[in-house]
């Protein structure tokens, strides 16, 4: 039997048909990670069969190199970049670290006064934490740019900061779309404002690719992060698209792979699968986005019917169809706590995510919601529902069926557990 061929078939049940497929529930957390596509999985398996270090000069090495370079061309073509601008990394987080640290060091080496890092207050921790690490260890000053009540960056504040401190700014980093509330940022306006002062811009597009049109060159950005497992590729691979004229220092030093800014043997199977996933996600974006936006709109309207005082966080998709990722819905449920909601929904077979970044025992209220002006008490009851390729109306039905009792119970728990007045 041809292994790769069988892997391209959708998984519909036990191979011999004797058992129904296990109930995996309604998976509404595609923004955390989304299933690998059959084509990406097939590419991964195919290339995992081959030996060869892409840096080796013999035929096996050349074959691996060829796959890596073809993948580079595929990624570049899908995202409006040149192949030489694609730097493969082991994750979106690594690409963000390379962008923030590499651009900071590169720019400061050119001009020692350039120590300011401008980031929006709603960036992912993979951007915020390297910026604050540089503040603690390398003399950087981090400027958090405010956002409005829907999570959109305040362009006037950005322009004012650029005008006042143009000579001291190393870089600007603004995400294409927010991972929690799905707000799409005005990337072109950000780039235009920064370019006026010749300041480079990094864009974290991890959530955007495959959901909204993303074109690196057309955006005018100098660097852009993408990740494999958010678009149907494997986890453990990503890329930083970086203009060749961008001052960018290495974070990982070693064999000098990837233009010398990212040493490390290339993970050819992961890169091949990543390229297939990016290609397919971009090619199928319009149809996919239309489908999940309709499903998301239904989810939003049913949640509002069931829980009239649930607060949709982020832009209203009816008012701003392009202002929000099509697969994202995010609600705060007053009087309920996110951890109660998550537990009860999980018990009912509905998998969603709380707004907080609870890292193994260290809960933090969502910095995104707080930056949007959501009160901490409301932020506590936040849940994100994110849709993807495998999402169906049955998932929304399952959520709608569970939600009345879940919210009622979570509110009862909110009255007794936790804070007392």
């Amino acid at each position: 039997m041809d292994v790769t061929a069988s892997l391209t078939e959708p998984v519909t049940g036990h191979p011999d048909g004797s058992e129904p497929p296990p109930d995996t529930g309604a998976y509404l957390d595609h923004a955390a990670t989304t299933p690998m596509t059959s084509a990406a999985l097939a590419a991964f398996v195919e290339h995992a069969h081959h030996t060869g270090n892409a840096s080796s000069l013999h035929s096996a090495g050349r074959a691996a190199r060829r796959t890596a370079e073809e993948s580079r061309e595929t990624v570049a073509a899908a995202l409006g970049a040149r192949p030489s601008e694609v730097v493969f990394t082991a994750s979106g987080t690594e690409a963000d670290n390379l962008a923030i640290k590499g651009m900071f060091w590169g720019r400061r080496a050119e001009d020692r006064r350039r120590t300011r890092i401008l980031v929006s207050a709603v960036e992912h921790h993979a951007v915020l934490d390297p910026a604050f690490w540089l503040a603690g260890h390398a003399g950087a000053q981090v400027v958090l740019l405010p956002v409005d009540g829907e999570g959109r960056i305040d362009l006037d504040a950005l322009r004012a900061e650029l005008a006042e401190h143009a000579e001291e700014i190393a870089l600007v980093s603004v995400m294409w779309a927010n991972n929690e509330v799905g707000t799409v940022q005005p990337v072109r306006d950000v780039v235009r404002a920064a370019r006026h002062h010749q300041i480079p811009v990094h864009v974290d597009a991890v959530q955007a690719v495959g959901q909204v049109p993303v074109d690196f060159t057309a955006s005018g950005a100098d660097a852009m992060t993408v990740s494999g497992h958010k678009v149907g590729g494997p986890a453990g691979v990503g890329a930083l698209l970086a203009r060749r004229d961008l001052p960018l220092d290495a974070v990982l030093h070693g064999g000098g792979q990837e233009r010398g800014v990212r040493s490390g043997t290339l993970d050819v199977p992961a890169i091949a699968a990543f390229a297939v996933a990016v290609r397919d996600a971009v090619a199928g974006r319009e149809a996919h986005a239309g489908r999940i936006a309709a499903l998301r709109d239904e989810l939003v309207s049913r949640v509002r019917d069931i829980v009239p005082d649930a607060m949709l966080c982020g832009p209203d998709p009816q008012a701003h169809p392009d202002g929000r990722l099509p697969g994202n819905a995010h609600f705060a449920f007053p009087g309920a706590e996110g951890d109660s909601l998550l537990y009860l929904l999980d018990s009912a077979g509905v998998q969603a995510s709380t707004g907080s970044a609870c890292q193994a025992g260290v809960p933090q209220p969502s910095h995104v919601l707080l930056a949007m002006g959501v009160p901490e008490t409301a932020a506590r009851g936040a849940l994100r529902f994110s849709l993807g390729t495998t999402s169906t109306r049955a998932d929304v039905d399952r959520l709608a069926a569970a939600l009345p009792q879940v919210v009622e119970r979570a509110r009862a728990a909110g009255l007794v557990g936790g804070r007392r007045s």
Binding site: L342, Y343, V362, P363, A412, A413, G417, G418, R419
Partner: protein, 373 residues
């Protein structure tokens, strides 16, 4: 039953959860996050609240095949246990934060939340036994809290504060274990990697074990004097709140007492920020008064005329020795105690006092005063 297993990441709560699963209950593991500050609670094997501990709890839940969640109780913990710890010390009393954690966190915030979410009981890894007895009690079956057969580990003292209503929704699956080694063996037998994890000691939110330093950081330095019982100044301190009645070490007195005997803290006067030291004899008490008393079902059946005196044993420290006493429960939530045997030394206001009859916990109160009468 639907059971919430509170999983700290230690071996005891992991085995308790395993036993609840094996008893046929529908078990969900929950780790309580008690701090939002990554650095506040110590890490590694000594703490009960670190990221590593949350990871250990998660792995134990994986091995048991039960769902696992982290619940954020950090705000309630700060508002109750930590705040109480600070205000009690500030008032010159000696709090027991583990008692307050059982009272406000495990058997209030967690238990009430669990109940509201549909759980029938909360199981913990405490060493104590619950016995149900229906012999002759007019109100029906009585649930009694008893000491663990593991006398070294017995935690009935810190659990007594929960009272009867909470006990009705608690499970202590380790109640029958006589030694910790048996618990570790049970953990190893089930492939729980925490089987060899060291025990935790001390106060989880005092990261370095330095209670005085913690109090000074949170309450600030308040220099004052140390005096002897005649009022003569014999030393200085940075805050009377950091001293506890009965304390001998760390007084920082330059010269010995005139009689050459060891000196102990005999009083902490927060109104004047003064620490009073004196000889050991002054620490001896045979009368103890407490408030906020809780009594377990049937505990007062032996008390004549409702608030008359009855015989019991009382214990004032987590691993203290119980001493014989006469106890009564007057109106208003008080507990009055007269020791009938040996006096106790160094009983401080704020401590928890627990009344026992044999292994059975009768009731608990917070010490308000202790004196020689």
């Amino acid at each position: 039953m639907k059971v919430l297993a509170a999983m700290s990441g230690g071996v005891d709560s992991a085995v308790a959860a395993a036993l609840a699963v094996e008893a046929g209950h529908d078990v969900v593991g929950v780790h309580m996050a008690l701090s939002r500050n990554r650095d506040q609670f110590r890490s590694g094997s000594r703490g009960c609240c670190s990221i590593e501990d949350a990871g250990d709890a998660r792995r134990a839940a994986d091995v048991l095949g039960i769902p696992y969640y982290v619940w954020d109780l950090s705000e309630t913990f700060e508002e109750t246990v930590v705040a109480d710890f600070l205000t009690e010390y500030e008032a010159g009393r000696t709090p027991n934060p583990c008692v307050r954690c059982n009272e406000h966190i495990k058997f209030e915030a967690l238990l009430d939340k669990a109940t509201a979410l549909g759980f029938d009981a909360v199981a913990t890894g405490h060493y104590a036994r619950i016995e149900t007895r229906d012999a002759g009690h007019p109100g029906g079956p009585v649930r009694e809290l008893h000491r663990s057969p593991n006398t070294a580990k017995d935690q009935s003292y810190v659990l007594a504060v929960m009272g009867p209503e909470r006990l009705a929704r608690a499970m202590f699956p380790l109640g029958g274990f006589a030694t910790k080694d048996e618990v570790r063996a049970e953990a190893a037998r089930r492939g729980l990697s925490v089987s060899a994890k060291p025990d935790s000691y001390d106060i989880c939110f005092v990261a370095d074990g330095d209670t005085r330093g913690f109090l000074q950081r949170r309450l600030g330095s308040r220099p004052g004097t140390v005096v002897d019982t005649s009022g003569e100044v014999v030393g200085e301190h940075d805050g009377a709140y950091a001293f506890t009645v009965g304390q001998r070490k760390g007084l920082g007195l330059g010269r010995p007492a005139a009689d050459g005997k060891a000196r102990y803290v005999v009083d902490v006067q927060t109104s004047t920020n003064t620490v009073v030291v004196g000889p050991a004899e002054l620490l001896s008490v045979n009368r103890i008064g407490g408030d906020q008393a809780v009594w377990f079902d049937g505990a007062l059946d032996a008390a004549p005329a409702g608030d008359g005196w009855f015989d019991a044993e009382v214990q004032v420290r987590a691993h203290g020795t119980p001493v014989p006493a006469r106890v009564r429960a007057p109106e208003g939530g008080a507990m009055e105690i007269e020791l009938t045997g040996e006096p106790l030394r160094g009983v401080a206001a704020g401590q928890s006092v627990v009344a026992y009859r044999g292994t059975r916990v009768l009731g608990q109160a917070t010490v308000t005063k202790a004196w020689r009468g």
